[in-house]
């Protein structure tokens, strides 16, 4: 017995406080695979739906890039269609892909199995959650096929323009969009309550909150944010629907449109912006916090080293979550609100950089002198650090009112949030899929295709978004169908746009390799062992791979240590699973 002790090891595990969870055993094929109440099946359903609708949004972004790179070369991309692409791309990517995939997908799969539960605490509600989400996606897709097409109001859906004649999709598109969002929120709330209560009340013996893997912490806090932020969107959806359908004036001031005085009067468009961003800013962290958590685990596992500053990482997640509720109006510096507000919100925004930077330091320090295994998930995790730091630094520019004003509504903003909120979380999604695919399917993904996918995506993202910062400094506005002739934008901007578009198309095609890899490996991939990455967390300690209904074998695992016992001096192996009792 060596003298070395691990960080948080106990030999005593308290007795079980409650009996085993009553599991629902479906008897029919429909009950097992379609209306399944097993969180793992629901997770896969969520992930499938989210990725499918995400592919639609990816195609929309490529269509936008075609117009920007090669103006008017494609006759089917009309200005109307272009605005519809902008709107649907944004909304789908943020809400229907990333939120659903991180919380509905990874949350459902990982929370029960990582905290040592047999399933989510309310399996029936969980099943309803997915099907309502699915219907919300169907309603959203339906808006492509109604007269007038989907809404073209921009993903922020600002009134009055979102509902006034002249904006694309005011006939049906905007109505379907709002109904779809409403349904999404209802469905999400059902799932979200599940995730929160499972983490709080259904952990296995020995699993304290401070022994949870950071993945669970990230998803847990993100779910709380979502439960408190989505209400603002729900309320604004209801009010905007009433404005459209009943002719109320919540968001509509007195105005003249098409030469006629409208019936509306007395409403407040700024109110919508406040409500929207009270949802919209936490939404950024709803997407980012699970990514933070997952990337912490990927780095730790593949660097064979404990995460640096575990407690600090947990409290940073909590602090970011709290702060994210008091920064929303930094999206509204040019909306005409009181300048003192700008001062307040700039201050809080810059304060949020502190816990965020702390996390970045800890990731880098986790790598420091680690035994780094350059596996495919590790590439994506390290890639994330790069893109996230880049995107985060430009956030400091935009968080300051005086710097934001000239950059507002330029390509710089597009570059910033795509670096920080699109590329970064998506890299983590990819890394997570390469990491957990062996557990979910029992087979490894193909490494060669994975490397190809990483390098083309990573370098391609820089090729797309780096030049965009420069375009923004030139003053190239975002959301414009075409630039026309202006004095301040040099002709070289057009060739830069072309280069960006070509890079975007290459990155887009690269994703097909990833999809092909997912399908190919399902049948031809190398058989995965129960714990191919030698990880410590509970999902790798299941009796079977993939885990069966109820996740664990006859007995639930008992937890004796934290999730990061890697390279413990004096131990036999370079990892000690959480459920391994201490040597006496």
């Amino acid at each position: 017995m060596s003298t070395a002790t691990t960080h948080d090891e106990t030999s005593y595990v308290p007795p079980a406080e409650v009996g085993e969870m009553e599991l629902y055993h479906a008897k029919t094929w429909l009950g097992k695979y379609v209306f399944s109440q097993d969180a793992k099946v629901i997770a896969i359903q969520y992930a499938f739906t989210a990725i499918a609708i995400g592919m639609v949004a990816l195609v929309l972004s490529l269509l936008m890039r075609l117009q920007l790179g090669f103006p008017n070369a494609f006759s089917f991309i009309t200005p109307t269609a272009y605005y519809q692409y902008v709107t649907m791309h944004g909304m789908i990517m943020v809400v229907y892909l990333l939120t659903a995939l991180f919380l509905g997908g990874f949350g459902n799969y990982l929370i029960p199995v990582m905290v040592g539960a047999r399933d989510m605490v309310f399996p029936f509600l969980n099943m309803l959650s997915f099907w309502i989400y699915f219907l919300a996606v169907v309603v959203l897709v339906a808006s492509f096929f109604v007269p007038g097409g989907p809404s073209g109001a921009g993903w922020t859906l600002y009134p009055p323009q979102a509902i006034l004649e002249g904006t694309p999709g005011t006939e049906w598109g905007i109505i379907l969009m709002l109904i779809s969002l409403f349904m999404f929120i209802v469905g999400f709330t059902m799932g979200g309550l599940n995730y929160v209560i499972t983490v709080l009340q259904a952990r296995t013996r020995g699993m304290t909150l401070m022994r949870l893997p950071l993945t669970v912490w990230g998803i847990f806090i993100a779910t709380i944010l979502a439960l408190l932020a989505f209400p603002a969107l729900l309320v604004s959806c209801i009010m905007m629907l009433l404005d459209i359908l009943l002719g109320t004036s919540f968001f509509m001031p007195a105005l003249v449109s098409m030469g006629e005085q409208l019936e509306y009067g007395g409403g407040s468009p700024i109110l919508f912006q406040h409500l929207f961003w009270f949802f919209g800013h936490p939404e950024v962290y709803i997407v980012a916090l699970p990514a933070f958590g997952i990337v912490s685990d990927l780095l730790s596992v593949h660097a064979r080293k404990a995460i640096f500053g575990y407690r600090m990482m947990v409290w940073a997640i909590v602090a970011i979550g709290g702060l994210s509720f008091i920064v929303w109006a930094h999206h509204m510096y040019v909306s005409g609100m009181n300048p003192y507000f700008g001062f307040f919100f700039a201050t809080t925004t810059l304060i949020i950089a502190v816990p965020t930077a702390l996390k970045v330091y800890n990731w880098v320090l986790t790598l420091w002198r680690g035994n780094i295994h350059l596996t495919v998930p590790m590439y994506f995790a390290i890639g994330f650090i790069f893109t996230f730091v880049n995107g985060g630094l430009t956030g400091l520019f935009l968080g300051n009112v005086t710097v934001d004003l000239p950059l507002s509504d330029t390509m710089f903003v597009v570059a910033h949030f795509h670096m920080v909120m699109a590329v970064s979380p998506v890299l983590v999604v990819f890394g997570a899929i390469y990491h957990w695919y062996p557990k979910i399917t029992g087979r490894m993904l193909h490494d060669g295709m994975g490397m190809f996918h990483f390098w083309f995506t990573f370098i391609g993202s820089y090729a797309i978004y780096y030049p965009m910062h420069y375009l923004g400094f030139l003053g190239v506005p975002r959301r414009y169908f075409s630039l026309g002739n202006t004095d301040f934008i040099p002709a070289s901007a057009a060739s830069l746009n072309q280069a960006i578009s070509i890079a975007a198309i290459i990155v887009g095609i690269t994703q097909l390799v990833f999809i092909y890899n997912l399908v190919w490996s399902l049948f031809n991939g190398k058989k995965a062992s129960d714990n191919p990455w030698n990880a410590t967390t509970l999902e790798w300690q299941t009796a079977t791979t993939p885990p069966g209904h109820g996740n664990f074998g006859k007995e639930l695992p008992k937890v004796f240590r934290w999730a990061y016992d890697y390279s413990v001096p004096g131990a036999d192996k370079d990892f000690i699973p959480q459920n391994e009792p201490p040597r006496s």
Partner: protein, 235 residues
């Protein structure tokens, strides 16, 4: 139960820290559905808060005068003009229903099937009468006073819009509550909680603790009404 005793010894704060740093459950002895109801109500609080803040905001932005609540919500009985009469009765009924609900929870923990079921039905009836009076109030406002969501003869059109939206959303909550009160009452009375009969859809065993979760929701709906009452009828 042992945790509770321990908490009394060490003080509430230390007890809470001990619970949160323990394994398995952060809220000791709290069933899942009750914890879920609390979190759900927190989320629902944000919904109503957004509604009420929106109401204040449009009341500030609108350029037309806001109709006087003591005029609009008054009833005329025998030629007497009595402001806030109906609303006082409605509030009284809803608060009373909170009382019967609390008693139902108490009898539930005593596993007194008949009293629990009876009090749940009384609560449901009081809730239903509240919704009924709300329907009467809406009818009066729409038919007699000509108030519509898009306009009214007295002034700012936002008055009708926010009033119907917020009281409608609250009335929807009450109606859902009444439906679930009846379902719970039926389950209590036919003995589902005594016999731990599995639920129709979830397959989970029945349990008297569900009455308390139902009660949490019902008290929340009452509490929200107090705020709506203050902001719409007294401001």
């Amino acid at each position: 139960m042992s945790e509770v005793v321990e908490n009394e010894k060490t003080g509430a704060l230390a007890g809470m820290a001990a619970d949160w740093s323990s394994d398995q459950r952060a809220f000791k002895g709290v069933p899942w559905h009750k914890a879920m109801m609390w979190v759900f109500l927190l989320s629902d609080t944000f919904i109503f808060a957004c509604f009420l803040i929106s109401y204040m905001k449009v009341r500030i932005t609108t350029t037309l005068p806001w109709p006087s609540s003591s005029e609009v919500f008054a009833l005329t009985i025998n030629g007497h003009h009595i402001p806030l009469l109906l609303i006082a009765i409605m509030t009284f009924i809803l608060i009373t229903s909170s009382g019967t609900m609390a008693m139902a929870v108490r009898f539930g923990y005593q596993k007194n099937k008949n009293m629990t079921g009876f009090l749940l039905i009384v609560t449901a009836l009081l809730g239903a009468s509240f919704v009924g009076m709300q329907a009467f109030e809406w009818t009066k406002l729409i038919v007699e006073e000509g108030i519509r969501p898009w306009g009214n003869p007295m002034g700012a059109e936002q008055f009708g819009a926010v009033f119907f939206m917020v009281t409608g959303f609250h009335g929807f909550h009450v109606s859902v509550g009444v439906i679930f009160l009846i379902i719970t009452a039926v389950k209590v009375l036919r003995g589902s909680y005594d016999n731990e009969t599995p639920g129709f859809m979830t397959g989970r065993k029945g349990n008297y603790e569900i009455v308390e979760s139902m009660g949490l929701y019902w008290h929340f709906v009452d509490l929200v009404w107090v705020f709506i009452f203050a902001f719409f009828y007294l401001w």
